[in-house]
Structure formats: structure tokens, C-alpha cells
């Protein structure tokens, strides 16, 4: 397809410039500016009060936990935390915005100038700049009833649920450092993982606790930036990827046919795969920002910032470095384990129990991940716990199981939930590595076959294969092949003396 004209070609005709704006709902107990509980999926308008309904006379009071959570995000993204940050009012009319202004931040945001290093599919790193991290309040939720699409067009009437209204939101704005839909998806995936590890949000795109807007333009390489359009509210990674592909394609087609790009907000319809322009009336916004007079400035002194920093969990970038240094893992594996906190925790538990990082990594990145991917599970839902896997790997390390046998046992463990030792015992699987027992069997077989033994002594090495076969038959294939070889050579030679 023609999206291949972008960036992936050796000498691309067009390149895309993408910046993302991500909204993350914080999982604080209460809302941004009032005491109502933050909830999801509750009956409409059951978690509201005069403040979040915008009654006359009410005043906002800043949620200090939200300030702390936003500071965590800012620090994790390497932002400079403002010593003094203030809120602004963003004024516009809409029924889901009860005060007709959103309390947000404008020219003095909480965090500025950070970055996220994104591991791309080819193993290379992309550093995406973070312009700003700021705090604001979420709007209520409109439910358009009576229409077929659930959208406002064609609806008979609209209802407003203010449960969500006033939920703390952190807006993360990236620099336009992203060039392809793949990079955008990788950035968003890794940002999501980072925020999840900070414990400050559920970052669930389907439930709307993470939402993404994209600014996108195209240009010929080396030329100034083109006119951008804004893709609003993409609620899944797939959706974001597809919408960017379609919009980039649309812009290239338009420019190639001599049209101009209009700066506007466009809507991507996943059903039709088309983008459409939103009405210009909704576009003509002058938000008339001015400092929120009902709130005093938030002072975040160095001691506060350092206290928050000290409370941060280990972050993916740091963990990746540690996994490489501590376990000698390849960079790509380390990055993958660092980006997926539960999988990283699982790996480290297995490695600690087995004392064999390489073997543990091979299994976690290999069989375990393959199983999880096939079953669509998170590692926390895996039937084989880290302890169980460590037990299995212990049997591999002491020679009880070959690699091949261990894979079979692992599958049985998943299917039955039994532990490795139990399965090995039930099936009589363990490799026979008891030197004394095997020695007796080998001695007996050599004794019983004097003819072939003589041939071997006369130099016909091929006969060794016959003896190995006999031993394997006797031991139902469980004898350790290397030990069988060694013992046979010793007995055959000894016999001749």
C-alpha cells in the first residue's frame, strides 16, 4: 500500500511528522477539585456534588494526591518539575462541562522538557521529547440516545453523566518526534507501561482511563513542516495505528493532487476506515485562558520533588540497564522484560530460584511468552507460577530432564496445573542418570552379547550403536545418552581384558 511511501522506503518521497497528546486519568480516591469518589461504571450521576456539578458559588480545592501523581509522571519522563505551577481556566461551552470552563494548566505546567526512550521493533531506540506534563479535570460523559451510531448526529436527545466530571487528568504532550504509525504505537505502548508501573492510573484505553490525540502532518524530506490536522480520542492502539495510516495517506494524496491541507480536527471512523472533518463551528475555539483566581499557586520545592522521586518504583530504563548488568541479558530481551513489569518480575523470580539467568531468560522469553501470546494472557494469569517453572528448570539443570522432555512437561503443567516433579513421577519420565543403576544394566547387556562385543573390540565402532539401542530399550529411553556412551565404552574395553 502507498503508506509505504513514508519513511520505510529507502528514499521516501514523503515523511510524516507526528506528535501525540495523551490524557491519563489518575486513580486517586477522590476527584481533582472536590471530595467525590473517582469511580467507573457506576449508575449515572451518583458520584456528584455541588462542586463538580458547577453549582453557583462553589469553589475548587486542589487534590494533593493528584499533584503527587502528576509529579511522579513528570519525574518518570525526565521532566523538570516547576517550583511554582498555577492553574488556568479554559473557557468553552459544552453540556459535559458544568462550569463552562475546564480548570487546566497553560503557560506554567507542572512538568516540562522530558523525554521517553522508545525501543522500536528493530531493536533501535527512538528518543521522543516530552514537551509538557500538566494537570486538569475531566469533563462529564455525554450519552447520545435514539440514534443508530451512538454519536450526536442523528440522536434524538443527549444525556449527561457527571460521575466522570472532575476526575484528575494528566495531559502528556510529546514533541513531534514520531515519524510512523509503528513508532507512534511503540511510544504509546511504552508510555502506558511506564505509567502503569508508577501505579498512578489504570491506563485502560477501552475504559477511557488513557486517551490519545495525535497531531499529524506530512512533508517532503528537508522541507518545513506541513499543515497539521488533529485526530481526536483514539481509544485503542490498533485504532491509533490505523487512523494515522489513513490520515497520512489522505494528506499525501491531497498534496499530490495539488490540494491544501486545512488545519482542523478530523474524526476517524473505524467502521468505514475513513477520516472526516468535524464541523467548523466546533473548531472556532478561542479558549480565553486566564489564571484561575479561585486557586492559589502550587509550590513544589526541591524537598518535595526529591521525596516523590525517592518513592518512585524502578522504571523501565533503569531496569533494562540492571537486567543487562546483573544477568548478562541481551539488550533486546532486557528491554522487553523491563517494559513489561509483571513479566520482568516473573523472570527475576525464576532466575533467583534457579540461579541460572540464561536458562530462565530463554524459557521466559521463549515457551512462557509463546504460551501467553497464544492464549492471550498476562503473565499474572499464567497457570505455571514462577516457583513451578523454577522447579521444572531445576530438573533440567540436574539432568533429570532433557530440553525436549522439559517442553513436554511444561505443556502438561499448563494443561493440568500439576507440578513438574509430579508429572515426571507419573509418567516415569526422568532421565536415568543414576550411575550405579545404569552401570549394572550396561554390564548385563555387554555380558549377554559377546559376539557384537568382540566385533567392537576388533575395531567396528558401528556396533556401539547396537549396544546404545539395547540400553535405551531396557531403560525405556530414559538413560542419559552421554552416560550410556561412556559406560558402554568402558565395559566393552574392560571385557576384553
Amino acid at each position: 500500500m502507498s503508506a509505504g511511501r513514508v519513511a520505510t522506503d529507502a528514499a521516501p518521497v514523503w515523511e510524516a511528522v507526528i506528535g501525540l497528546e495523551i490524557h491519563v486519568q489518575l486513580n486517586t480516591r477522590t476527584k481533582m477539585f472536590c471530595g467525590c469518589e473517582v469511580t467507573f461504571g457506576e449508575p449515572p450521576n451518583t458520584h456528584v456534588c455541588p462542586v463538580c456539578l458547577g453549582h453557583p458559588g462553589v469553589l475548587p480545592v486542589t487534590n494533593e494526591k493528584a499533584i503527587e501523581y502528576a509529579t511522579r509522571i513528570g519525574l518518570a519522563l525526565g521532566c523538570r518539575i516547576a517550583e511554582r505551577t498555577i492553574f488556568h481556566r479554559k473557557n468553552y461551552f459544552y453540556p459535559d462541562l458544568p462550569k463552562a470552563y475546564q480548570i487546566s494548566q497553560y503557560d506554567l505546567p507542572l512538568g516540562i522538557g522530558g523525554h521517553l526512550d522508545v525501543e522500536l521493533d528493530d531493536g533501535s531506540d527512538l528518543r521522543v521529547g516530552i514537551t509538557r506534563v500538566h494537570l486538569e479535570e475531566d469533563a462529564g460523559k455525554l450519552v447520545h440516545a435514539g440514534g443508530a451510531s451512538g454519536r450526536i448526529d442523528g440522536a434524538d436527545y443527549s444525556l449527561v453523566d457527571f460521575n466522570r466530571g472532575g476526575t484528575p487528568l494528566v495531559e502528556i504532550v510529546s514533541e513531534p518526534d514520531i515519524a510512523t504509525p509503528d513508532q507512534a504505537r511503540a511510544f504509546l505502548t511504552q508510555l502506558r507501561s511506564l505509567v502503569q508501573q508508577l501505579g498512578v492510573s489504570d491506563v485502560n484505553m477501552e475504559e477511557g482511563s488513557m486517551r490519545c490525540d495525535a497531531n499529524v502532518s506530512v512533508r517532503r524530506p528537508g522541507e518545513p513542516l506541513g499543515t497539521k490536522t488533529e485526530l481526536k480520542n483514539m481509544n485503542s492502539f490498533r485504532f491509533l495505528h490505523r487512523a494515522l495510516e489513513v490520515e497520512i495517506e489522505r494528506q499525501i494524496d491531497a498534496l499530490e493532487s495539488g490540494e491544501r491541507i486545512i488545519q482542523e480536527t478530523v474524526h476517524f471512523d473505524p467502521a468505514t476506515g475513513l477520516v472526516s472533518s468535524l464541523r467548523s463551528k466546533e473548531e472556532a475555539h478561542d479558549y480565553r485562558y486566564f489564571p484561575e483566581p479561585d486557586l492559589t499557586p502550587v509550590e513544589l520545592d526541591e524537598a518535595y520533588v526529591e521525596r516523590v522521586r525517592a518513592g518512585l518504583p524502578e522504571l523501565p530504563a533503569g531496569r533494562r540497564e540492571r537486567l543487562i548488568g546483573q544477568y548478562g541479558l541481551p539488550s533486546k530481551d532486557a528491554a522487553l522484560l523491563a517494559a513489561n513489569k509483571p513479566l520482568g518480575d516473573y523472570f527475576e523470580a525464576v532466575a533467583a530460584a534457579t540461579g541460572d539467568a540464561r536458562l530462565s531468560a530463554n524459557w521466559v522469553m521463549g515457551d512462557v511468552s509463546a504460551h501467553l501470546n497464544a492464549a492471550g494472557l498476562e503473565v499474572t494469569q499464567c497457570a505455571v507460577s514462577a516457583g513451578s517453572l523454577a522447579e521444572l528448570l531445576g530438573l533440567v539443570r540436574d539432568g533429570t530432564l532433557s530440553g525436549k522432555m522439559a517442553k513436554e512437561v511444561f505443556e502438561t503443567m499448563i494443561a493440568t496445573g500439576k507440578n513438574a516433579r509430579g508429572i515426571v513421577a507419573d509418567k516415569g519420565l526422568g532421565q536415568m542418570s543414576d550411575a550405579g543403576e545404569l552401570d549394572a544394566i550396561v554390564a548385563r547387556i555387554v555380558e549377554a552379547n559377546p559376539g557384537p562385543a568382540e566385533e567392537f573390540r576388533q575395531g567396528r565402532d558401528r556396533v556401539l550403536g547396537f549396544f546404545v539401542g539395547q540400553v535405551m530399550k531396557e531403560t525405556r529411553g530414559q538413560a542419559n545418552p552421554q552416560m550410556v556412551n561412556d559406560l558402554l565404552r568402558r565395559h566393552l574395553a574392560a571385557h576384553g581384558n
Binding site: 458559588g57 462553589v58 469553589l59 480545592v61 473557557n91 453540556p95 480565553r288
Partner: protein, 497 residues
């Protein structure tokens, strides 16, 4: 004072009762709370047909509250329990219609109590009802009320001032011993001056604004309207305090207590040059000059001081206040409460018609000015410039308070003007607040006390103190009040019953 009890066969004459006298009558047992409340309701019935200060008289609620007080043994009562009060219709009172004298809030019954209302309830005060005002506190004559024109008890052809005109007129007319108002640019002090009562605007932050329907958030402050300085001090102590629901509230460093100062020895008073001389009409100037003499006779030293920036106060105020108002009043959109137009084709028409029908001309004018001043491209020239001017005014006051304990000026450049005289000329109307506006811009406390009469109409003296100097300010005002001995009872005919 003629305060005979009903039981002796005389009607209780409340025309000149102070709140302290009400309290004495209740404490001594000479009058019951129901008798006292009934006497005020009777007085309202007798004179409010001509004064028109009340928008709502809650006869049933007031009597029930008074009877509940009577049911308690006197020894268990709080000091102010059973004393009636009138409330500007800008405070949210749970269960009591609150309109801000605007059609857009007609029928709105708040689901919560303002913080000051909760404090008054806790102190046991009896709410007589809601008082008229300029719509959303925008005006200097109370002529901008959507519902009625309040008249000055000293001359029914004249305005009571505004925006707390209902509060000042009702106290002057003896329709409540005291009342609460709000002051954004002079809205307590100017009507107090025009009606011959005491009006105090506390330092910004002394009284919680939670539940005060916002006009201009960075300027609004609640304060007492009373018949003497002692009552103002007592009411301030009831309502002052840091409120966790108002981030901008601070409270008082200590209760002001009862002022008992008899002289002004050792105090220096700066006469604000820009507010005397040609800025005032001659009759006001004469009264002011005699106030300066009185201060001198009490041992105070008066000297002229220039605050050059205050002349720009009106210009700065009429950008800052409308800007904040344009945002504060945006929530009145017909979606959740208050007026909604009866017919509209779509959302935008609903907004437009609702607000066109609901707001009066002065409110619309200020919303338009504020919207314009905050618009992209104009913000720096208007709003930001006005804020810089505000800083200059603050610095002028700071310099002056380096030399003086208090600053004085006439409260209003004129006595009460005729109804209709300035309605066609907004700029002339805005000049009514020349001397009071800079005090709000600098967040200072200011008090207006009756200083005398010009052609039979009251003239007020404004005393301004440094931030949080209420205790000293009320002390000085008390000394001047005692020296001047101004008659407080207007010649008002009672309607025949």
C-alpha cells in the same frame, strides 16, 4: 431607644435597634426570640412596600427558627442565638431560593449552604429573608435588579447605592438589625455610605467565599452591614475564618473582639489626595473635612498623601472584574438549573436564547467586555495590562502604609442620586466607586461609617487599613463614630395596617 415588650402592651419598636441591643433584650428575657422576629416581620410589612429591600421574606422559616430558640433554656443559648439577620440574595442558603436578582436564576434553590450561612446557623441567627441587589452584584444603585428597584430610606426618590443596596436600605430602615453584603468594588461601602449605615469590606481572604455566587473571584469579599461599628466587629467575628473549601481564605490572625477605643492618640491618617478636592461634590467635601477635624480632635494626625496609580483603578477594575465575570457567569447555560429557554432547535440556540433571556443589559455588557478582554490577541493589551496596573496600585498602598496607620477618603464622591439619573450613562455610574475600587484591587480592608449629612442625605467616611488590620481599623472607626454621633434613623412613614 423605645424597646418596650409586647407583653406590656406596647409594640416593640425595632427602627433603631442594633444587634447588640437585640441580644440584650433576648438575654434579659424582656423579649422572646419570636417576639423579636415578629417585630421585624411587622416592620418589613410596614415599610418594605416603599423601601423594596427584600426579594424574599421567609416569614415561616424565620418564625420557626425563632420558636426553636425560645424552646431552649436561656442558659443553654449561644450569645447571638435568636437575633435576626437579612441576607443579600447572593449567598446560597440550602432550601431557600437564591437568584442574585437575575431572571436566569429565578427558581433556583441551592442544595447546600454557603460557609458563612453555616456559620450563621451554628451561631443561632434567624434568617429574615433575601435582600435585593444589582443583578450578579454588577452595579452601584441596585437599579440593575431584574425584579425591583430598592429605594433609599432617606429619600424614596433616590437609589440606596449598590450592589448591596437591599442590605444597606434594610438596615437603615430598621427592617433587620444587621445584614450581610458583598463588596467587589465598593458594593458594601458605597450603599452603606448612601444609606447612612456602617459597611465593612474585610481583607480579601478573611471570609470564605464558598457559597457566594461569584462575580469577580479575585475581588469579591463578604462583609457586614450594620448600624454601628460594634455590630460590624461582632458579625465579622462570626463569619471570619479559614475555610478548607476556599483555597483563597486565610481568616483573621485573632478575633477582632469589641472595639473600645476612645481616642486616636499616636495614629497617623493619610488623606488620599486623589479622592478629595474636585473628585467630590462640595457637600461631601464639607462632611469629609469635618471628619478630618474630628480625627484631629481625637488626637490623630491627618496628612495628605498621593497614590498616583489609584486614578487608574476604575479602568483596571472594569477589565479584571468583567473578565472574571465572563467566565464565572458562563455556567448559567440552562443545562442543569435555573432558566432555560422554552424553545430552541439546537444546543447553540438553547445557549444563546437562554442567556439572552436570562441576563439583564448591564450583565451582558460586562460579559461582552470580559470576553473581549480575554480574547486571543487582546489579552496582553487589556487583561494583562490591567493586572500590571493592579500591581502598581498595590505598591502605592504599600508605600502609603509605610508612613500611615490608616488612609481616609469619602466613601462615595456624591450623596445618593436620583433613581434613573445614571442608568443611561454607565461611565457616570462606574465613577460612583472611584474611592472604593482601589481597595478591592489591593485586597485591603475598608470601612464606611456615617460621617454626617449633605442636604439631608447621608455621607460616609471611608477608613482603609493594611492587610488583616481589621482589629485596629474597627477600633479607629469606633472612636470616630463616637465622636461624630450621627443620627441613624431616617424619617420613614409606616404603611397603615
Amino acid at each position: 431607644m423605645t424597646a418596650d415588650t409586647g407583653s406590656a402592651g406596647y409594640a416593640l419598636d425595632v427602627r433603631c435597634l442594633t444587634a447588640h441591643q437585640c441580644r440584650e433584650l433576648l438575654t434579659s428575657g424582656d423579649v422572646s426570640a419570636s417576639e423579636l422576629t415578629r417585630a421585624y416581620l411587622d416592620r418589613i410589612a410596614a415599610v418594605d412596600g416603599s423601601v423594596q429591600s427584600y426579594l424574599l421574606v421567609d416569614e415561616a422559616g424565620a418564625m420557626a427558627a425563632a420558636e426553636a430558640v425560645d424552646a431552649k433554656p436561656r442558659s443553654e443559648r449561644l450569645p447571638w442565638e435568636g437575633v435576626p439577620i437579612g441576607l443579600k440574595d447572593i449567598f446560597c442558603v440550602k432550601g431557600m431560593e437564591t437568584t442574585c436578582a437575575s431572571r436566569i436564576l429565578k427558581g433556583y434553590v441551592p442544595p447546600y449552604d454557603a460557609t458563612i450561612i453555616a456559620k450563621l446557623r451554628a451561631a443561632g441567627l434567624v434568617f429574615l429573608g433575601k435582600l435585593n441587589m444589582d443583578e450578579f452584584a454588577m452595579g452601584s444603585s441596585t437599579e440593575n435588579s431584574a425584579f425591583k428597584i430598592t429605594r433609599n430610606p432617606w429619600d424614596l426618590e433616590r437609589v440606596p447605592g449598590g450592589s448591596s443596596g437591599g442590605s444597606a436600605a434594610c438596615v437603615a430602615a430598621g427592617e433587620a438589625p444587621w445584614a450581610l453584603g458583598t463588596d467587589t468594588g465598593g458594593s458594601i461601602r458605597q450603599p452603606a455610605s448612601l444609606c447612612g449605615v456602617v459597611g465593612l469590606k474585610p481583607t480579601y481572604g478573611v471570609v470564605s467565599r464558598y457559597g457566594l455566587v461569584a462575580f469577580a473571584s479575585s475581588l469579591d469579599q463578604i462583609g457586614p452591614v450594620t448600624r454601628n461599628v460594634g455590630d460590624a466587629a461582632a458579625l465579622l467575628d462570626i463569619i471570619a475564618g479559614r475555610d478548607p473549601r476556599d483555597s483563597t481564605s486565610i481568616g483573621l490572625p485573632e478575633p477582632v473582639g469589641q472595639p473600645d477605643r476612645g481616642d486616636l492618640e499616636g495614629l497617623r491618617f493619610g488623606v488620599i489626595k486623589e479622592f478629595v478636592g474636585d473628585a467630590c461634590e462640595p457637600g461631601v467635601r464639607d462632611v469629609f473635612d469635618s471628619s478630618v477635624d474630628a480625627i484631629g480632635a481625637l488626637g490623630g494626625v491627618c496628612e495628605e498623601v498621593s497614590l498616583p496609580s489609584v486614578e487608574r483603578g476604575i479602568a483596571a477594575y472594569y477589565l479584571i472584574a468583567p473578565s472574571e465575570a465572563s467566565s464565572n457567569l458562563a455556567r448559567f447555560d440552562g443545562v442543569r438549573y435555573g432558566h432555560r429557554t422554552s424553545h430552541s432547535e439546537d444546543l447553540y440556540e438553547m445557549y444563546t436564547r437562554t442567556r439572552s433571556e436570562g441576563f439583564g443589559p448591564e450583565v451582558k455588557r460586562r460579559i461582552m467586555i470580559g470576553t473581549y478582554a480575554l480574547s486571543a490577541g487582546y489579552y496582553d493589551a487589556y487583561y494583562a495590562q490591567a493586572q500590571r496596573t493592579r500591581t502598581l496600585i498595590i505598591q502605592d498602598f504599600e508605600r502609603a502604609f509605610g508612613r500611615f496607620d490608616f488612609l481616609i477618603s469619602p466613601t462615595s464622591p456624591t450623596v445618593a442620586f436620583k433613581i434613573g439619573e445614571r442608568t443611561a450613562d454607565p461611565l457616570a455610574m462606574y465613577l460612583s466607586d472611584l474611592c472604593t475600587i482601589p481597595v478591592n484591587l489591593a485586597a485591603l480592608p475598608g470601612i464606611s461609617i456615617p460621617a454626617g449629612f449633605s442636604a439631608g442625605l447621608p455621607v460616609g467616611l471611608q477608613i482603609i487599613g493594611p492587610h488583616f488590620s481589621e482589629r485596629g481599623l474597627l477600633g479607629a472607626a469606633h472612636a470616630v463614630e463616637r465622636k461624630l454621633e450621627v443620627d441613624l434613623v431616617p424619617p420613614l412613614a409606616e404603611a397603615a395596617r
